[in-house]
Subunit: 443 residues, 2 copies
Amino acid sequence: MEFVSGQTKKDVVEISDILTGDYEGRDISMNGAIHTIRDMGEVAFVILRKREGLVQTVFETGAVDLPLKDLKEAATVEIQGTVRKEERAPHGFEVRLKKVRILSQPKEPVPIPVGKWRLDTSLETKLELRPIALRNIRERAKFKIQEAVVRGFRDYLFLQGFTEIHTPKIGAKGAEGGANIFKLDYFHRPAILEQSPQFYKQMMVGVFDRVFETAPVFRAEKHNTKRHLNEYTSLDLEMGYIESFQDIMEMETGFLQYTIELLEKKYAKELSLLEVKLPKVDQIPQVRFDEAKRLVSEKYDRKIRNPYDLEPEEEMLIGQYFKEEYDADFVFVTHYPSRKRPFYAMDDPSDPTYTLSFDLLFGGLEVTTGGQRIHDLDMLKEKMETRGMTEEGMEHYLMIFKHGMPPHGGLGIGLERITMKLLGEENVRETTLFPRDLSRLEP
Amino acid sequence: MEFVSGQTKKDVVEISDILTGDYEGRDISMNGAIHTIRDMGEVAFVILRKREGLVQTVFETGAVDLPLKDLKEAATVEIQGTVRKEERAPHGFEVRLKKVRILSQPKEPVPIPVGKWRLDTSLETKLELRPIALRNIRERAKFKIQEAVVRGFRDYLFLQGFTEIHTPKIGAKGAEGGANIFKLDYFHRPAILEQSPQFYKQMMVGVFDRVFETAPVFRAEKHNTKRHLNEYTSLDLEMGYIESFQDIMEMETGFLQYTIELLEKKYAKELSLLEVKLPKVDQIPQVRFDEAKRLVSEKYDRKIRNPYDLEPEEEMLIGQYFKEEYDADFVFVTHYPSRKRPFYAMDDPSDPTYTLSFDLLFGGLEVTTGGQRIHDLDMLKEKMETRGMTEEGMEHYLMIFKHGMPPHGGLGIGLERITMKLLGEENVRETTLFPRDLSRLEP
């Protein structure tokens, strides 16, 4: 009988092996995709694209077991050669080629210059050719930064005693009312795609006290803007036994601090590739919604048109205000008006026009919505009644309050948006692997 | 201006604080839900449920600032009291109560005895009352084990140089043909819910060489069995530059070994609560599909009815065979017939009736399907043609092969299934937080 033992073979080396070991002058095997070929006559530089970065290999006529013309950009290969220090090459070394085994040949030249440093192609083209465009080193680096954000979120919350959950995305009724919800047929029953794990994470607070989920959410909003997606990855947390919604903002700030550190420690290569200047997160100013409106109105001489809502331009100006006045990249705007928040938001007992809630703005864009939730059944029912809501279909949600829920609250972070702001991008599609918007269902 | 600094206050203690610090005789504050109350007359034991487990608090008449009758099961409280060693209590300590602050009172008694050690309630009732039933200590422990599996998967793959990706769940066309797919209306265009991230993870192999995703998948299968769900969490990986599909089985075995170690190290409490005996994963036997059928047919005197398919009973018997003959909990069954595998599966060059693919059986149940994929465009097109498939709607997928793909393969693991087998459960719904099946859309 044959057995699988879980031993991964190591007959090829990776970039990090060479950087951490003594490989000077040694012959190695290595695989990768041919990113670019620069033919200088006597020699050619054949640049390999590997998951950890680029490797310069040197093709000298006569020294290699096949002719240069057999090598094509986008081919995948396994090479053998000698490692040599070379300051001018990526990572400070190059590989002098001896043998090349071609693993696959492309059928056509790539339609966009992915081998270039900067992929100067329209967003439209990049998205249409997404699977290829992402082979550009800087394009793909964006999604390593995104990876770090999710990783930081999970790792930090594990340290804080949170439990990870997986809640269903197909449901019977929407958490926050009927509009903007994708509908589907579920074995001849009407169903919806969840626009948030809100009800489920609250249920699970009654079980694990602190829970989080990193999963897709679906919004059938007909917005066609640079910051909206119809499907995105939401980083959600919910925590019980809070003293106030201040605890939730502390938790988010802790997550941001942890993640910035993670980025600096483990994603330095990508930060440098993308020339990212990380935001300051040592302390984040917090300001009331009404106060923020007033400050911006005064400083920028702008009339307050609607005291109960923030226009995107106002958000932007709040960001600008706190950058100018406090050199702050983030700002917590607190106490949003009750009428603009869902029914489960806890009203401020000192003025129920407002809620114990917040948004986090990053460079003037909302990247998080959070707050304390109502945990008392009577208060919840009363608010539902005031809003003309029915309890029908809400039985499982209301059940948890019948049987005891601690004071609790939570938040949801838009992964693509926070990545976009981290990278200084202008369009959220730049930091979405395969965006879904009003016109885009493919790739 | 007020600032949020990310400092989390620590005026309440957790179980692990007490277990790792010197708290004997000290007064502490602690919060939790009242799990059970055992009134012994002079004293009462008020058991708190906290995220890390149960805590015994002792209510002595006269010693506490409120009467016992004010305390109700399922209330949430913050208590003050003195920590005392007590061997017979959970975790070896108890808290002698001085003050109790009630955070919330339940409105009704809980409808099922969640405070009991074993929740002897039908699965149907448990699922109907899921948000409450999960408050049982053993019920919730199942989902800590599940957490460990996902965590082990991610952490191991990060160590192996994989990149985490987030691919869209709404799409234009299904990866594996038209049947069993949920359909929805996407702004007046027909759309589907992805039944697998297959095409996307292959696209991303061309970008990052090695990728993984942990996300929901959707299958509109009309099965009503103990092992099928219509929505489940799939642990997917895909890796490039493989020598053969053997590399993928090695990677999965490595993940299993890593996860078992993680469970032993960090989830010992839950393993003990659920009396779990962890499976052996030091080496996993592998056997060809046709050979497995033959072995089982011979040993258990069972006719081979269909040489190209495995019946569930046959899977079970293969599991039994390898348990009996090799004391193996897992077995890789390799070389599935081509006609039972999707078009992108790599046929075995030495006999194209079979594919370079595998399933992993755990206790006789399929928990993983994987294999090598075709990476040559012509081969792929030829196979599509043979199967009468059209290239329409597949342009973005086929694009990657046009521009060079390395030999690659991958797998998908059903999270709820592998958790079910780890825990020795008979029904996958036991290890699904909120199952979606033919009849269940709520909670």
